[in-house]
Structures are given as structure tokens and as C-alpha cells.
């Protein structure tokens, strides 16, 4: 099946099998390997990307469902080689260790930025419900998201 979509602002056309998962399309066809696969039951959130501006788990979206959509992956976030403020806050707050969950964490947290009211820690923790990390205990991730929200 033919699909055409925009990925990180660039138009992409491809022929895909209907069952191809968006995450495999991004990773293997487009070589955007920053989006990771951490589970097979849609729990871990490592594969989170933005689809038309909303965070989704790309392991649970078919590439054909993304036909005509606008996709942003972690690679699309750091413009011109400069870290996005959220990425910078992750480094500053030591919010990553092995780095495997990190792209998903960042893409999920991005939805919290730019709101009128800075979320409190409880709200941030709730917003990370769809993302698992096994390294950090989340504390510094929460701090990084809070820091970025305060600055945005």
C-alpha cells in the first residue's frame, strides 16, 4: 500500500505492507532509530512519537494509519544541532542513565510544555504513566520536566 506522510517536516512516500508497524517503518525504513522498542504490549512508551501533534505509541500504530499525517520523532526535536529546552533540562537534571527510555520520555513530556500553569510533581508523574524507566527512579525525570515547564 502507498502512503505519504511528513516525518520531522520532510515529506516521505513509501510502499508498505498493511501490517508494518509505524515504529518499524520509522526505524528500519527511514533509519530513524532514536525511537526505541521496549516492549510488545504497548506499556513502556519507549516508542513514543508525535502524530499530528499528539504523543502516541508508535508500536501500536500501523504505518498505514499514519498515511497523510505529520510525525515528529526525537530526531526532529533538536533543531540545527542544538538541544531542545526539554532535552537540555534532561541533561542538566541527570534525567537519563542508559538512555533507552529517554526519547520516549521526552516525546511524552513534550505535551506538558507551554501550558499556562506549570504542572506540579504529581501531575508530571501522572503524565508519565505511559512511560517506563528502569534506571532513574523517575525523580530526576520529574525534575527535568518541571524545569522545562517553568522555562517554557
Amino acid at each position: 500500500m502507498n502512503i505519504s506522510l511528513r516525518v520531522n517536516g520532510r515529506p516521505v512516500e513509501a510502499v508498505v505492507e498493511p501490517r508494518l508497524l509505524l515504529v518499524h517503518f520509522l526505524r528500519e525504513r527511514l533509519r530513524l532509530t532514536g525511537t526505541h522498542i521496549g516492549c510488545d504490549t504497548s506499556q513502556c512508551g519507549a516508542c513514543t512519537v508525535h502524530l499530528d501533534g499528539r504523543a502516541v505509541k508508535s508500536c501500536t500504530v500501523l504505518a498505514v494509519q499514519a498515511d497523510g499525517c505529520d510525525i515528529t520523532t526525537i530526531e526532529g526535536l533538536a533543531a540545527e544541532g542544538e538541544l531542545h529546552p526539554l532535552q537540555a533540562a534532561f541533561q542538566e537534571q541527570h534525567a537519563l542513565q542508559c538512555g533507552f527510555c529517554t526519547p520516549g520520555m521526552i516525546m511524552a513530556s513534550l505535551e506538558l510544555l507551554g501550558r499556562a500553569i506549570v504542572p506540579d510533581d504529581r501531575e508530571i508523574r501522572a503524565a508519565l504513566e505511559g512511560n517506563r524507566c528502569r534506571c532513574t527512579g523517575y525523580q530526576n525525570i520529574v525534575a527535568a520536566v518541571r524545569t522545562a515547564c517553568e522555562r517554557s
Binding site: 505492507e17 501490517r19 508494518l20 518499524h24 526505524r27 528500519e28 533509519r31 530513524l32 532509530t33 532514536g34 525511537t35 526505541h36 522498542i37 521496549g38 516492549c39 510488545d40 504490549t41 506499556q43 513502556c44 519507549a46 520523532t73 526525537i74 530526531e75 526535536l77 533538536a78 538541544l83 532535552q87 534532561f90 541533561q91 542538566e92 541527570h94 537519563l96 542513565q97 542508559c98 538512555g99 533507552f100 527510555c101 529517554t102 526519547p103 521526552i106 510533581d121 504529581r122 508530571i124 508523574r125 501522572a126 508519565l128 504513566e129 512511560n131 517506563r132 524507566c133 528502569r134 534506571c135 532513574t136 527512579g137 523517575y138 525523580q139 530526576n140 525525570i141 520529574v142
Partner: protein
């Protein structure tokens, strides 16, 4: 006397140099690697815990377009040996563990057939087309049951499910008999799944014309793997290259040479093509090592004042169906550290290790030591309760005092140094122990159940070599090479293989400090056996303690040589040279000096331009071998409130005071503690890899196996003390496992303290809401 003052990088909160590429999505984990013509390997796994394979028909799978080959266990046994296990320990009767099961499966998830196909979609389809008929056998997953005469026996050649038995300790019988009172209990440290976010995976690439095999492996120990893979494959080690690319967490579960990984390498050799194997999460839950799975029957001989006179454990350790690399070490480590932070004159553990129809166990953060700490810290609470004493008082009475170090325990461990009281005092002060006890009483009067839990933990890290050991993980040394290029920048090659610990940054800090450079002037190379000639790996909190010490010593040697050279160029005595901010100055004339860049460039000159006997280049390689383990210690205190209607336990406050020995980068140390706490709290409250009576795993995906999410955890209050270790030049103790070790007993003690007024006396982890509620009902009945 210190004549120069480098910028204070030791103890500085330097941001990690590892981060930018990982943040930008430019990390390179094993599944990110794509090679031309690469095939995909997929494994069909047993759905049964114990069964005979009657028929295995792979013809339909072989016929699927895009499938290159399909192998059964029997096919592979023609040309592959069993998987190495139990570290080649002498006297260990390790049953053969085939790469894929031959005729009989012994746990759910054991490999049965392997598919090699053009891509992962085809491989997965082919797996579906393999027909297996099983003759299901009775299974046993409970180690206690496995020891009974009626139990099905896993390995016919051994004749029973006893893996090994061992006694560690001194005489306890007489001491127990002479004790004023014996207090007994039974504690279980349940089977859990380490569960790094990245599952296992391998890419193997044999290049026949080069005679070279490269294996990219999600591993924590590329050098150990290189040695094991070479031996297993009978492949010349000098032509084998193992690369640990970015590794998405390991926690002890990635230092075993696994069947699928060896198979990937073997099939790349056989087919002469690159191939990839990536484990799915649901496979990971079954096929990657589980951990802990120990139970003890405790007998403690005590005096009425709480002094512990003697301690005996009968420890049952669940090996799973086979040994992995160091499965057998777990219970030995538990036994060696059974006395925890306490002075107990008589202590011994009788270990019985058992095979069961379950996933093999192996290390997980806190290996053996988390179990030991849980058992002794639960025992201390039990003693306090039985004697009607405060849990704090019992601990204080038995803690090893600062003046008692070095302190040899009855199980043969030497605590090199420490100050256990320091952490305890600081924890209680910050927690406001007395005030919280009053708060607890007030809440109880209002029908709310708050509990306080304490764990004073002491264990060991950074293992030394095992005398006479030739097997797996018996070398305790680590190597580091520091070299300065002609522009005065530094390259450090280290034998450990960091994957989240931040060792690249701490290594850069240690080295930069020696030369008055900045961390970004230092590049750290690791994880590729072609780039790093010798090493062991990252495990047992040894990266900084052992590897970092090698780095410090190497940097110091290079520094000394650079100073000699600078003195030569300045025509002064080396003792007159002051090294500051990458510049060598004449202490007698502050106007005279020479930059490190100039000295570095000069170091490449011919020997005739160098001081007598000096070799060109500023480089040193040091192999550091610790004389003993470091002693690691701390105190954790937490307050937990239990909703007695639902049984849900919520941590209100968690304070961890841990001794780092020397914290090179406190931010990274705290991060390590946070992560360990999350895993420890997960074990205490949520996680458990349990099986039903047929040996079916009950929590075989992340839909049923609960690892903590952000909303499950409190804000941790973490503080470090620094009591330098005496066994390494850095003074570091190894901090990576403290959280996972301290948290389970602290949390369980707190929940039981909360429920004490309701008459609940015992609970086994995980303290899920259902289990807690059930205990309350039973206590009420």
C-alpha cells in the same frame, strides 16, 4: 605536601558527557545496527514447563519464502556444544544446557527451534508454522517441593533436583544451644525479573575473507563475552571482536553468555552472513535471567537485651532449570554476608540449591547481598518484636562500631572499614524518628495506619580475583590506559563497559583533575574489544572502585612522567614543578612555565631529546587488582501508610543515607541510588515472577509484571556520607546497588510496623494490596 591545586573536579556535579547524543536520539543500541544482507534470527520457545518433544516438524517453516534455514535442538547438537554455565566451577555438577532444547524442555520459554529469515516479519511468520507435539511432564517450580522425593526430577543424570549443598560459617550449634532465647522465622526473597528497558540482542557478522567474527552484543561485559564466545565457538580469540554498543540497562542480567547470543554467532559463522537476533519483551520475561529466589529458615540466639549471640540460616536457593554463568554465586554471597552490619560471633548458613522448572536465575542489582540484607534486617525487626524492644535499640546494640574495623565475620568476610553509626544517626535525625513515632500514635488513634521501617545495611562491592579461579568472572582486576596526544588532549581506554552509570564522565573527571584540564578534554573509550585490549566488565559495583582506581593510577603515572619531562624542558628539578590548569610552572619563578600542550608535543620527540631513559609518548597502562572487597553501608528509613480497606501501601517518606566512600560526582551517585530504590521498592511492593502449579509463568508480560511507574514512587530524600575506603586509592566504595539492597527490608519493615496493631506479624514480598488486605483479614479472624 600538596604543591598544586587542580580544579576541584572530584566531587563536582559535572553534567554527563554521555548525554547529548542519547538525548538527540543518536544513540546506537544493538537493534539500531543494520548491515547489508543481514538475516534475522527468531526463536520458537516452549509453552510448557516440562515436556518431552515428541515431534518437531519444521518443514512448513522451511518452505516459507524468505526463510533461509530452520534449526532444531538436535540439528544444533551436531555441531554445537552445550552453553557454558556455573562459571566452570570445580566440583559443580552442571547439567548440560543445550542452545536449543534436545528432546526435552525444562522451563516455559526454553528455545525449541530457530528460524533464520530475510527479515523479522518473515521470521515471525515462519515461527508460527513450526509444529511441535509435546508429551507434557509433571513440573515443579517451588524449590521446597522440588526437594521432596515425589517431585519430578529435571535432570535424570543428577538423579534429584539438588544442585549443590554447601555450608559457610563457623559453629553455631553450641552457641545457639547456649543462647538465652532462640527466635525463629522464615523469610522469602522472591523471584524477580531485572527487566532492563532494552531487551537482549545481538548482531553477529562473520567475514570469511578476513577470518574475523564481530559480535555486537547488549552486554555489560564485552571482554568476558569475548573469552567465553571464543572458547565456546572454538574460534581464535584474537580474531573475535565483541562490541557493547549503547546498552539500554542490564542490572546483572546481561553478563551471561546466553544461548541465543552464542547461536547468533555460531550461525553467522556457519552461513557466512551477518545476522541479528532481538529479543521481544514477552520473550525477555521468560528467557533472560530471573533473580533472587531465595528463602531462609532463621534461628537467632539472642539475649534479652537484643544482643544476637548466634545466627543460623538454612537457605534454599532456586537455580531455575539450568545454571547460567554465575547462578551458584548468589546463595554463597548471601551466606558470606548474612550477618549484615552486625557483630555476631557465631553464624553459619547451610545452602541447598535446587533445580526447578523455571527460568534460570543469575545476578540482579544487589546479587546475593540484597537477599542477605533482607534476611538480616527482617530478622532484626523480628527479634525486636519478640523481645518487646525498639527496632532501633536492637540495631544499635549489635552494629559493628567504627573502632572494630577491619572486622572479620564468622562467614569469612572482612569488613575493611566503615562507620555504620554515622549513617544511622544522620538518617534518624533527618527523619525525626521520635517525632514520627508520635505522629504514628496520633494517626493510629484516628484509625490510620502509618509504619516506620529501618534498614541498616552493610555489604560488599568491587570483588578481588578468586585465587586459583580460571572460570567465568573470577578475575577481579581492571585495566585502564591513559595517553596524551600531541595537542595535549587525553584518551582513556577502560576495561569496564558502562551502560548508564556515567563512568565516562567520572573517568573524565578523575583524569582531567590530574592535569588541570576540563572533562571535555578527556575522551573515554570503552566497550569494544578491538579498541580496548584487556578488561573485564561492569558488574558488582566495580566500575569506579576497581576500574576508576586503575584510571587514577594510570593518570598519576602519566602526570609524573609529564612533570619529569616538563622539568627537563624547564631545566629545573622535577620537585620544583607545579602543575596547574594544564601548565607546568617553576615553583621558584612563577614567570617560567610550559604548557601541557607543549610538553605533550615534545613527548613525541626521539629519545635523545628526552630525559635519560624516558620513552617517548605520555602514556601509562595500569592494571588494578583490589586486595579485598570494599564495605558498602548506609541506613534507609521510610514511613509507609497502609489503606486497610484496600491493602494499598503508600510510601509517605523515604530517606536514604548511603556512604559513597568518595563521591566523584554526587549527582551521578544520587541517580544510582534513586534507580536502585525504585527497583528495591518494586521488589518490596509490586514485583514477583510467580508460576502456577503447572509451571506456567503468571506474570509473563508487562501487562502482569508490575515494574514501578513514576506515580508509584515517592520523592526520595538521598544524602551521602563519605568515609573513604581503605582498599583502593580512590577511597570509593561502590554505590550502584545500595538502593536495591536497602529498600526491600526498609519498606517491608514499615508496612509490618503499620499493621502491627492489627496483629499482622508476617508478610512475604511483594506486598501487593491483595496480599496486605488478606493478611489483615486473617489477623482479624
Amino acid at each position: 605536601m600538596r604543591r598544586d591545586a587542580p580544579p576541584d573536579l572530584i566531587g563536582a556535579r559535572v553534567p554527563r558527557v554521555e548525554d547529548p547524543r542519547l538525548l538527540a536520539g543518536r544513540g546506537a543500541y544493538v537493534d539500531d545496527l543494520q548491515l547489508p544482507g543481514m538475516l534475522q534470527l527468531d526463536i520458537l520457545r516452549s509453552p510448557h514447563a516440562h515436556a518431552r518433544i515428541c515431534e518437531l516438524d519444521v518443514s512448513m517453516a522451511r518452505a516459507l519464502p524468505g526463510v533461509v534455514a530452520v534449526y532444531t535442538g538436535r540439528d544444533l547438537a551436531q555441531f554445537l556444544k552445550p552453553v557454558p554455565s556455573a562459571g566452570g566451577m570445580q566440583g559443580f555438577n552442571a547439567p548440560p544446557h543445550h542452545v536449543l532444547a534436545v528432546d526435552r524442555v525444562r522451563f516455559v520459554g526454553e528455545g525449541v527451534a530457530a528460524v533464520l529469515a530475510q527479515d523479522r516479519y518473515i521470521a515471525r511468520d515462519a515461527r508460527e508454522l513450526i509444529n511441535v507435539t509435546y508429551d507434557v511432564l509433571p513440573a515443579v517450580t517451588d524449590p521446597g517441593v522440588a526437594l521432596t522425593p515425589q517431585a519430578p526430577v529435571l535432570h535424570d543424570d543428577i538423579g534429584s533436583n539438588r544442585a549443590f549443598e554447601l555450608r559457610i560459617g563457623n559453629d553455631t550449634q553450641a552457641a545457639l544451644a547456649a543462647s538465652e532465647r532462640i527466635i525463629s522465622g522464615r523469610f522469602i526473597n522472591q523471584r524477580v525479573i531485572p527487566g532492563p528497558m532494552e531487551t537482549r540482542g545481538a548482531v553477529a557478522h562473520f567475514e570469511p575473507w578476513e577470518g574475523r567474527l564481530t559480535v555486537w552484543l547488549s552486554t555489560q561485559a564485552p571482554h568476558l563475552m569475548k573469552r567465553e564466545f571464543a572458547r565456546y565457538l572454538d574460534f581464535p580469540e584474537h580474531r573475535l571482536r565483541v562490541v557493547a554498543p549503547d546498552v539500554g540497562g542490564a542490572f546483572g542480567a546481561k553478563n551471561n553468555p546466553y544461548a541465543e547470543e552464542l547461536l547468533a554467532a555460531a550461525l553467522s559463522l556457519k552461513h557466512g552472513v551477518p545476522l541479528k537476533w532481538i529479543e521481544e519483551r514477552s520473550e525477555h520475561m521468560l528467557a533472560t535471567s530471573h533473580a533472587r529466589a531465595q528463602a531462609v529458615e532463621v534461628h537467632a540466639g539472642v539475649r534479652a537485651d537484643g544482643t544476637v549471640q548466634a545466627l543460623h540460616y538454612r537457605l534454599t536457593a532456586d537455580m531455575g532449570a539450568y545454571y547460567h554463568a554465575i547462578t551458584h554465586i548468589g546463595p554463597m554471597m548471601t551466606a558470606a554476608l548474612m550477618t549484615g552490619a552486625y557483630r555476631i560471633a557465631h553464624a553459619a548458613t547451610d545452602i541447598i540449591s535446587v533445580f526447578t522448572n523455571a527460568t534460570p536465575t543469575d545476578p540482579y542489582r544487589g546479587f546475593g547481598r540484597a537477599e542477605a540484607t533482607y534476611f538480616i534486617e527482617r530478622t532484626m525487626d523480628l527479634i525486636a518484636r519478640e523481645l518487646g524492644l525498639d527496632v532501633l535499640e536492637v540495631r544499635r546494640r549489635n552494629l559493628i562500631r567504627p573502632e572494630e574495623f577491619p572486622c572479620t565475620t564468622p562467614t569469612g568476610h572482612v569488613h575493611e572499614s566503615g562507620n555504620f553509626q554515622l549513617c544511622l544517626d544522620r538518617a534518624l535525625e533527618r527523619f525525626d524518628y521520635e517525632g514520627t513515632r508520635r505522629e504514628q500514635a496520633r494517626l493510629r488513634a484516628a484509625g490510620r495506619y502509618l509504619g516506620i521501617g529501618i534498614a541498616t545495611h552493610a555489604w560488599r562491592a568491587g570483588f578481588p580475583s578468586v585465587p586459583g579461579g580460571k572460570g567465568y568472572v573470577t578475575s577481579g582486576w581492571e585495566k585502564s590506559t591513559v595517553s596524551i596526544d600531541a595537542a595535549g588532549k587525553i584518551r582513556v581506554v577502560i576495561g569496564t563497559s558502562p551502560h548508564g552509570q556515567g563512568v565516562v564522565t567520572t573517568t573524565a573527571q578523575i583524569v582531567a583533575q590530574q592535569f588541570g584540564l576540563l572533562p571535555q578534554d578527556v575522551r573515554v573509550i570503552h566497550g569494544d574489544t578491538d579498541a580496548v585490549a584487556q578488561g573485564n566488565g561492569t558488574m558488582g559495583s566495580r566500575s569506579l572502585v576497581v576500574g576508576g582506581s586503575a584510571t587514577l593510577l594510570a593518570a598519576q603515572q602519566v602526570r609524573a612522567k609529564a612533570i619529569r619531562l616538563a622539568a627537563h624542558l624547564l631545566q629545573i628539578d622535577p620537585r620544583q614543578v607545579v602543575l596547574e590548569s594544564a601548565c607546568f610552572r617553576d615553583a621558584g619563578n612563577s614567570q617560567r612555565g610550559i604548557a601541557l600542550t607543549e610538553v605533550a608535543a615534545h613527548a613525541f620527540a626521539g629519545p635523545r631529546d628526552l630525559p635519560d631513559g624516558m620513552e617517548p609518548c605520555l602514556e601509562a597502562a595500569v592494571l588494578f587488582e583490589p586486595a579485598n572487597f570494599t564495605t558498602c553501608f548506609g541506613t534507609h528509613v521510610c514511613a509507609v501508610e497502609v489503606d486497610v480497606q484496600t491493602g494499598a501501601a503508600a510510601i509517605r517518606r523515604y530517606i536514604a543515607i548511603d556512604d559513597a566512600g568518595r563521591a566523584i560526582n554526587p549527582t551521578l551517585v544520587e541517580g544510582q541510588i534513586h534507580g536502585g530504590l525504585a527497583q528495591g521498592i518494586g521488589q518490596a511492593l509490586m514485583e514477583g515472577a510467580s508460576y502456577d502449579s503447572a509451571g506456567q509463568p503468571l506474570a509473563a508480560s508487562l501487562l502482569d509484571y508490575a515494574t514501578p511507574k513514576a506515580s508509584d514512587l515517592p520523592h526520595f530524600e538521598v544524602e551521602l556520607t563519605e568515609t573513604p575506603s581503605t582498599v583502593n586509592p580512590l577511597g570509593a566504595r561502590g554505590i550502584g546497588e545500595a538502593g536495591a539492597i536497602g529498600a526491600p527490608p526498609a519498606v517491608v519493615n514499615a508496612v509490618l510496623d503499620a499493621l502491627a496493631p492489627l496483629g499482622v506479624r508476617h508478610l512475604d514480598m511483594p506486598l501487593t494490596p491483595q496480599r496486605v488486605w488478606r493478611a489483615i483479614q486473617e489477623a482479624r479472624a
